[in-house]
């Protein structure tokens, strides 16, 4: 079920209304779980059984890890990780692996292996990471396993974030399902408060605007160039890359806003997933602002354990960063382009980390503290980030080499560029509108609070403008959310 369909609006309204009307705590929690499973079933049909089975097994693993002695603990933990990674690997990477093996077999004249007829279950990368985070935290003794299968099932399947994140942490989410009543942690009453409802709707409206007004309407320009970029001049390639960066940001951060807003209406706090990433002043800073729930997950559960014992060796840190970002790229999809996307970011962050370690005084230079210095840092960082987006978007290796070459070695041709602008007036206007609004939002950090605290008579004007913008430019054939396929 897409957030942008009338079905979701109807579904969500029904869930919220039922929760407001029926105050029974147990009923409310069961309803959220049933609603989440229905939401998933509507998105991915028979894969619901996979979600339920993996939830049951991981719940059981959690208990087992917690109860086991230290030797057994390690073994059980390893098995649980193998189970989750195996599940993810099988559905997401097995055919990619077969494809690579076949390439090798063809070159030596051996018969090819047949591809498996499997479809990627929607959101598997997200809910597997939920479960793995939960099990790792138990193994590290940072949390105790949940006593309630219902709580754990809601944590894994909570519908606002089930299919495209943000990736939740058990220690942040599970306590929100409970409240202290007479020294006992009982089921928490779900109350839809006025402030949460208004703020949540405001956030959802902004999310819809990012996805349906900006991302969907910028997509035609991006698709036109990237469906076959060979032959386009440098400025066209740069405009399309800039547009793609904005499209994917609008798409994914829009989804996150809707998810966070919907969760907030139901009384749950989900940490934000984006924080003005296009104002990052370094590649490291970028990953503190872009897909925060994934980057912090990878940092806490993969990178930090990897470098913990050898963090003073710069070469080891550099290699660890490369490996971490390579895997982060691979998480996005089974394709060489995603690996290259990850490796490029690994390279950026690795070099950034080494420079900061070797020349610590560099960051304190007066230039970097000045406005010009900061602007220069932002522009250089964004050039690198958008360069890496090329690998994310292209459809084959030849195209990637062509587009990257045009991005670096500017040819100063303009014929195709002006044609592209003339053919895509609406997307171009939206790209520049987005940039202006993004700058305004950067300087007016509390704009969401300001909007949601407006008096009702002004707030309705905000809603009419947002709904109007979305509806009047609503494309009858929108693209799916890009992150749905991960």
């Amino acid at each position: 079920m897409l957030f942008t369909t009338p079905e979701f609006i109807l579904f969500f309204t029904l869930v919220v209304t039922t929760i407001i009307v029926f105050k029974n705590k147990k009923f409310q929690h069961v309803l959220i779980l049933i609603a989440s499973y229905f939401f998933y079933y509507y998105s991915g049909t028979y894969f619901l059984s996979l979600l339920v089975v993996s939830t049951l097994i991981d719940f059981w693993f959690g208990k087992l890890i917690y109860k086991s002695s230290s030797t057994n603990r390690k073994i059980i933990f390893s098995i649980s990780m193998a189970f989750n990674l195996g599940l993810l690997g099988f559905f997401k990477y097995v055919n990619f692996f077969v494809d690579q093996v076949n390439s090798g077999l063809t070159s030596v004249g051996i018969q090819q292996i047949e591809f498996l007829e499997i479809v990627l279950p929607v959101g598997i990368s997200f809910y597997t990471f939920h479960s793995m985070g939960y099990l790792i935290d138990i193994y590290r003794k940072q949390i105790t396993p949940s006593d309630s299968l219902l709580d754990y099932s809601i944590y894994v399947a909570f519908f606002p974030q089930l299919v495209a994140g943000p990736i939740l942490r058990a220690k942040q989410f599970l306590p929100q399902l409970r409240e202290k009543i007479n020294n006992f942690h009982g089921i928490k009453q779900i109350i839809v408060t006025d402030s949460n409802l208004k703020f949540g709707i405001t956030l959802m409206a902004i999310g819809f605007l990012k996805k349906m007004f900006f991302a969907d309407n910028i997509a035609p320009l991006v698709n036109q160039v990237f469906q076959n970029p060979i032959g386009y001049d440098s400025f066209s390639v740069m405009l399309a890359t800039l547009s793609f960066g904005i499209q994917i940001y609008g798409d994914f951060s829009g989804y996150s806003d809707i998810a966070i807003g919907a969760a907030l209406i139901l009384g749950f706090t989900i940490p934000k997933n984006f924080n003005k990433p296009f104002f990052a002043t370094s590649p490291t800073d970028f990953w503190r602002r872009w897909h925060i729930s994934l980057s912090t997950w990878v940092r806490d559960y993969l990178y930090l354990p990897m470098v913990f014992k050898r963090r003073k060796s710069l070469s080891y840190v550099f290699v660890s960063l490369l490996v971490t970002f390579f895997l982060l790229g691979l998480w996005h999809g089974a394709g060489w382009n995603f690996m290259i996307f990850g490796l490029l970011h690994g390279l950026y962050v690795g070099i950034d980390t080494i420079l900061r370690s070797k020349y610590p005084s560099l960051a304190n230079q007066r230039f970097f503290g000045s406005k010009i210095g900061k602007l220069t840092s932002i522009l250089i960082t964004q050039y690198l980030i958008f360069f890496a987006f090329i690998a994310f978007r292209v459809e084959n290796f030849d195209q990637m080499i062509y587009v990257m070459t045009k991005f670096i070695f500017i040819d100063f041709q303009t014929n195709e560029f002006f044609n592209l602008i003339l053919q895509n007036k609406v997307p171009v206007v939206l790209v520049f509108t987005f940039i202006i609004l993004h700058v305004v939002a950067y300087f007016k950090k509390s704009y969401l609070e300001i909007i949601s605290s407006l008096k009702i008579r002004y707030w309705i004007v905000f809603l009419i403008i947002i709904i109007g913008l979305i509806f009047y430019l609503y494309d009858a054939n929108p693209d799916d959310f890009i992150y749905f396929k991960f």
Binding site: P6, I20, G231, K425, I460, Y472, L473, Y474, D475, A476
Partner: protein, 302 residues
């Protein structure tokens, strides 16, 4: 207060939707297949020519009807060929304009079809979000309004389309005339494979095509099919099974209704005549397509 917020949200939706109704009435873009009431049909029915109609989608629209008429009239001066192609034609949509087409007293109908014409991809779907609820495209309406309001006055949105009298429903623009390098003929493989998927037992298009044949034959109009030319890159990605099913289906149609089929599928598959992988360019250097269609017409004139 919860109720008040909900009411405000509902009210906002209502205001936006209600404001759209008069806007839509004024600026709505006609669906391409809504040609039934077009004065063209009345005009043609009043002429004394013997009329021949060509039907199909954009690949048929790329035919040069002026050139075809020139060739045909050399042999049959009393005949006039009209190209009734419109963008993205499929048989279920063509049904809407059969009555108007027959009002022109045509002698022969030539219908250009290809793999996508009979695909089950175009069976009525509900998964189109708001579109399925309202059967409208707000963006197209808004853009049309912008063009109408700003276009002529400011020159920001000038009409770059040209209409030829004998191809009334398929306006041309410059990019349709461009022959592109064969290496640049890109295809979205996944979408293409979906769009050519054949399922004769569950194809609303096949039923509509049969209805079309029966309608014309009942009115004593000869029907001839021709398969549309495709570039090799397109042919390479159509699954063999779908090719076979499509060929079997049209052969069966041919036998059942005694309809002749001319096959142009592979005719220019490796030649430099393509605008994209499934449209021959409308260009002086790609007239071979229109010439071949002219010869087909000449061979069928009684």
């Amino acid at each position: 207060m919860n109720g008040k917020i909900a009411l405000v949200v509902a009210l906002s939706f209502m205001i936006v939707f209600l404001s759209f109704i008069p806007f839509y009435e004024k600026y709505r873009v006609l669906n391409v297949w809504e040609i039934n009431d077009n004065p063209f049909f009345q005009k043609i029915s009043e002429t004394t020519n013997e009329n021949i109609l060509i039907m199909g989608g954009s690949a048929v629209g790329q035919l040069n009807s002026t050139h075809i008429n020139k060739i045909v009239s050399e042999k049959f001066p009393e005949y006039m060929v009209y190209n009734l192609a419109y963008n993205a034609d499929i048989p279920t949509q063509r049904l809407y304009s059969l009555e108007s087409s027959i009002s022109t007293n045509p002698k022969i109908i030539f219908y250009g079809i290809s793999f996508w014409s009979l695909s089950d991809y175009y069976n009525k779907k509900t998964d189109h979000g708001l579109q399925s609820l309202f059967e409208i495209n707000p963006k197209a309406t808004t853009l049309n309004a912008i063009r109408t309001i700003l276009g002529d006055e400011t020159g920001l949105f000038p009409s770059q389309k040209y209409v030829i009298d004998t191809t009334p429903f398929f306006p041309y623009s410059k990019d349709q005339m461009q022959i592109n390098e064969q290496s640049r003929l890109y295809l979205d493989i996944k979408t293409t494979i979906k769009k050519v998927h054949q399922n004769p037992s569950n194809s609303e298009q096949l039923v509509a095509l049969k209805d079309t044949i029966e309608f014309f034959q009942k009115n004593n109009v000869k029907v001839v099919f021709f398969t549309l030319p495709l570039h090799q890159s397109y042919l390479d990605i159509v699954p063999e099974n779908d090719k076979q099913l499509f060929n079997e289906t049209i052969e069966n149609l041919s036998k059942k209704y005694n309809v002749k089929i001319f096959d142009f599928t592979n005719s220019y598959s490796t030649q430099d005549v393509w605008k994209d992988a499934y449209h021959v360019a409308l260009n002086p250097n790609s007239l071979v397509y229109s010439q071949d269609i002219s010869q087909m017409i000449i061979s069928e004139v009684p």
